[in-house]
Symmetry: C2
Subunit: 193 residues, 2 copies
């Protein structure tokens, strides 16, 4: 990881989320997210910190191997935008660390909303001045819960923790990815969210 | 499980889904769902078949212990509708078996769409003539991926399969729940889906 903040990373300077703290608390309860998960995610952050580039290699390899996914990093006529991929990659790495270390406060809620917006017609491409397609369909936001969760487990097991500890970190990660995906979808469907 | 089909269960007699087979195939690829998962889900079906009521006890216990969740089985002023809970419970049990055994064909796609509709303002409460609130918010549809996935694992391990086999069944279940949730959200956000 670079020590420079990634280009376009705006944590701490985005507007308040329309999602309330009470709505967040109820979502946390629904995914069974507790103070233990906060601790387990911190441990996961220590485990993952020097593996971030390897994780991103797996995720980018997955996207690159599926034309219907790499299309979201391409122009409408299919030219892949390498600079866009590279810029998003830096923020994706930062997101791994933020998922593990950031407290679930107003700033976190605000930036989760910003991440959602950046996948919709409202803000996709803007941050990176990318000439890509206008949004990422909601269905892929949900579907990504699976690969983003399942692929993290081997990395959590790479530092010699016992199986029970790895499993706890993995479950905390799964809860957080599910919770964040729910938050990211607010701008996709404000009326039914 | 009763041998009678559950009240309101309309598998095989619902209109075609707006989701195409091609869109389904791309979603399956995104959650890494393969022919191996079909086999692992079948095995899971055999494992879970005589545990369905116990699984439903866990899920209903979870909902019942959270006022913000049981509200979706209650009137707008908070009176819990026991008959509605009981009728949905039967179909929920059937859904476990369908998840394990039904092929991903046009009928399956159609009924997945029907399930989605029955959580939205379009069709919630209709099947059961329930006097409940008008929809289940999209965010809880996503959040439920976690409890519906995580709680199934002990049941998959109850029949003496080795750890690797249990894990394969569990991952197939996780993929299917994620995939189906993506499908269920189409009527929530047809424009951005």
């Amino acid at each position: 990881m670079t020590t420079q903040p990634p280009a376009g990373y705006a944590y701490g300077s985005t507007p308040p989320s329309p999602v309330s703290r009470d709505e967040l608390a109820k979502l946390e309860a629904t995914v069974l997210f507790t103070a233990d998960d906060v601790q387990d995610l911190r441990m996961a952050g220590d485990v993952l910190e020097d593996q971030v580039e390897d994780i991103l290699d797996v995720w980018y390899g997955f996207v690159a191997s599926h034309p219907h996914l790499v299309a979201y990093f391409a122009t409408p006529d299919g030219r892949v935008l390498d600079d866009y991929l590279a810029r998003v990659r830096q923020r994706f790495g930062q997101w791994i660390m933020d998922t593990c270390h950031r407290p679930h406060d107003e700033e976190w809620l605000s930036y989760a909303h910003e991440i959602g917006l950046r996948h919709t017609q409202d803000k996709k491409n803007q941050t990176d001045q990318a000439a890509s397609v206008r949004h990422i369909p909601l269905r892929y936001m949900v579907a990504f819960i699976y690969p983003i969760t399942a692929t993290i487990r081997p990395f959590l097991a790479n530092k010699g923790h016992d199986e029970g500890t790895v499993e706890r970190m993995y479950q905390a990660w799964f809860k957080s990815v599910t919770l964040q995906t729910a938050l990211w979808l607010q701008p996709y469907a404000a009326d039914t969210w």
